[in-house]
Amino acid sequence: MDFSVLLQDIPTLLVVIIGVPVVLAAYIVGGEYLVRRLPDKNRPRVRPWIWVGPALILVAGFLLIPAILTAIQSVESNGVDVLDPTTWGANFVGFRNFARQFADFPTGGAWIAIRNNVIFWLLFYTLISLVFGLVLAVLFDRVKYEQFVKSLIFMPMAISSVALGLIWDFMYEYQPPGQEQTGTLNALVTTFLHHDPVSWLQDQWPGESFNLLNNLALIGAATWGITGFAMVILSAALKGIPAELLEAARVDGAGELTVFRRVILPLMMPTIVVVGTTLVIFALKAFDVVYVMTSGNYGTDVLAYRMYNQLYLASNSGGASAVAIILLVAVVPVLIFNLRQFRAVEARR
């Protein structure tokens, strides 16, 4: 590995290593110094703002303002410099960019991406990860080697999603019938099921208008990466259930299934809902697996990838912003629900 690139730009390196911590420390010390000089009763009102200030500036600068600019850009003609306020009214095109995304139902515009996100990914990705996560959490709770297997299941979380996509690219690899199958899945399919190999990522079974198979293949790869996340959080919630409750249920003669259904599940429900809604958000913003494995071809496009394509390949900032806003509108209700639910869980503790 060649680290000489780090030394190419020594002033920047110094700023990063020394400058940033110094400025932050100076800000904190200086802020505290100023707060101390305030009259006692004002201090509690000012101090939180000093501490939360940098975070607020970052959120405003990197999230809020860009989001507003995106919204503006989504109703402007393409190629306008959105940072220049004098252009704002002049290039207004109404909802033309949105109309283009919603044109020609069901195959034109963004419809395939919307279908994949809002039906396939949302449904299958969320349910598969959640069900597997829950089942694994509950079952592993009962074995001695729990920590070990949980680490194994959690491990894909540590892999970057691009590497994950490449790994599954190999898993799904296709060779024509009769040839030695280099992909793990096709090796299994041909050896044990005596079925012709399947080109998982290109095959649009059951049909071009409802291509489920390759979308499921992508979703399968993505769930492999996220199930561990669902499992650890659900497992933590499971551990939080008092043993006396389970004990009492068993003493009263409840079988293990009844205990799970009547005691464990209701008590875990708030956590399940939070994990589920988080997964829904992940499903809506899916990008990397699609980018690496199919580039959105063969009817596997998703909104985030479409946005990327519109912006970088088509240089269509208006269209990309419109897709971004569609995505935002889809995510916001889930986000609000998720935050509320999260607060409810916290309040119960």
């Binding site: 690139v5 730009d9 000089r37 034109g108 296709y174 024509p176 290109q202 071809n297 088509a314 240089s315």
Partner: protein, 433 residues
């Protein structure tokens, strides 16, 4: 009063950060480095590094090379962020013209020795890099498209003859197919948004040699409708090569769409052969030899130019190449660019195989084998040379065309709806660029 001081402190703190960052970035012009970005990885990257090695040795300038297969997106991001590489080698001239129109590129007229360039480069290559009367991009290697690669040993074993006419080719593929083997190997996977381009190469060759350069130019310019008889006929002609349900191609549509263009041709070298012919540009030889170390040019692989579909436009060829654009006019970048346009530099590239030199001074004797010499001669002798059509289309037209290729291969029966959709893209794509 107190609030005011707090505000001032905050402003001062932010200003300090900004000043520090600004100082940091403004002094990046480092002593002897030139940052280069292109798509070449693996063997192609090694060849490029071999080309610049003598330059580094003689000038002491370090060439810092970055490679990405998602070049368009990466370069656009870097340019938008004000942090482009010094030099970029891109396969689609349309991208660099776009940067030229935005004033992001340095015109090369004052950078390179123009009189030498005019002596060494044919006008066609310079015209391709010219925007608004100024030269913005220059080629250091090019490739010839529409070459059909075959394994002479397999041809001899079966007594197959190299086809001279389109009809010969159709007869040959029927002959191969009736003997129980698929005639063709095709692989359309490339990565990023580039999947499908190798199939578009077929269409370009067919459009050019079936309907001629005038239709080809209109097609590139977006004034020839995809649903027009000429373009539709190119698709159906390619369909006769693919056969019904792609039955003329090894592995059918599943294999075509899931095989990489880099390895698709390897079927020529297996025993028994998986296919007898593979259509790819001249650069593919470096993939043949790096993938199959034992194969030798001439004995294990050879090529014939794709026969003319119509004799009316004989001798027509599609060419392509990676062109350089200068984003930062530093002395180091200048001298590297000058070096890359010389015959000395291009000779190294040519010797490594797979690349042809646009510089007329590059001696034919530098080509490593009879094959590349022959393709270099074809390039020089081409009567109708046209630059790669899809690489010259606006980005979303290009991507849509490549996606259309994938859809066509998966189901040729959908041709009409595929073409109608391309017409829709065409209607908007040319406005936005």
């Amino acid at each position: 009063m107190h609030a005011l001081t707090k505000g001032r402190a905050l402003v001062a703190a932010i200003a300090a950060v900004l000043v520090a960052v600004a100082c940091g970035t403004s002094s990046t012009a480092s002593g002897g480095t030139v940052k280069v970005m292109a798509e070449w990885s693996g063997q192609e990257q090694a060849n490029f590094l071999a080309v610049v090695k003598p330059f580094e040795d003689s000038t002491g300038i370090h060439v810092s090379y970055e490679s990405t297969r998602d070049l368009t997106a990466v370069i656009k991001t870097r340019v938008a962020a004000g942090n482009p590489p010094d030099l970029a080698g891109v396969p689609n001239p349309q991208l660099l013209s776009q940067f030229a129109s935005q004033g992001k590129l340095t015109p090369l007229d004052g950078v390179l020795d123009m009189s030498a360039l005019h002596q060494n480069y044919s006008q066609g290559w310079l015209d391709l890099g010219t925007y608004n009367g100024k030269l913005y991009q220059v080629y250091s290697w090019v490739s010839l498209k529409g070459l059909v690669w075959y394994n002479p040993k397999n041809f001899t074993a079966k007594g197959y003859q190299v086809p001279k006419t389109w009809q010969d080719l159709i007869t040959l593929q029927g002959q191969i197919k009736s003997s129980g083997t698929t005639p063709w190997c095709i692989g359309l996977k490339s990565g990023g948004a580039d999947d499908g381009w190798p199939g578009s190469d077929w269409l370009k060759e067919i459009v050019l040699s079936q309907s001629g350069p005038a239709v080809y130019d209109k097609w590139v310019a977006g004034t020839q409708k995809w649903t027009s008889p000429e373009i539709k006929s190119a698709f159906t002609t390619w369909g006769t090569i693919l056969g019904s349900n792609d039955s003329n191609v090894y592995g059918g549509s599943n294999q075509i769409t899931s095989a990489s263009f880099k390895t698709a041709g390897d079927g020529l070298f297996t025993s028994p052969p998986k296919c007898y012919m593979h259509n790819q540009a001249s650069f593919i030889t470096s993939f043949f030899t790096s993938d199959n170390p034992s194969v030798q040019p001439g004995t294990d692989f050879n090529f014939f130019p794709l026969p003319d579909v119509s004799s009316q436009f004989s001798g027509a060829h599609v060419v392509a190449g990676d062109s350089w654009g200068l984003f930062h006019d530093t002395p180091q970048a200048r001298s590297l660019l000058k070096y890359l346009t010389t015959a000395d530099a291009q000779a190294i590239w040519v010797k490594a195989g797979g690349k042809l030199s646009p510089n007329k001074k590059t001696p034919l004797s530098d080509y490593p084998d009879a094959l590349s010499k022959e393709s270099a001669q074809i390039l020089v002798g081409t009567q109708i040379a046209k630059y790669d059509a899809t690489d010259n289309m606006p980005a979303d037209m290009r991507t849509a065309a490549w996606q259309a290729v994938l859809k066509f291969v998966q189901n040729q029966g959908n041709l009409d709806s595929i073409l109608a959709n391309l017409d829709k893209v065409q209607a908007t794509a040319y406005q936005s660029s």
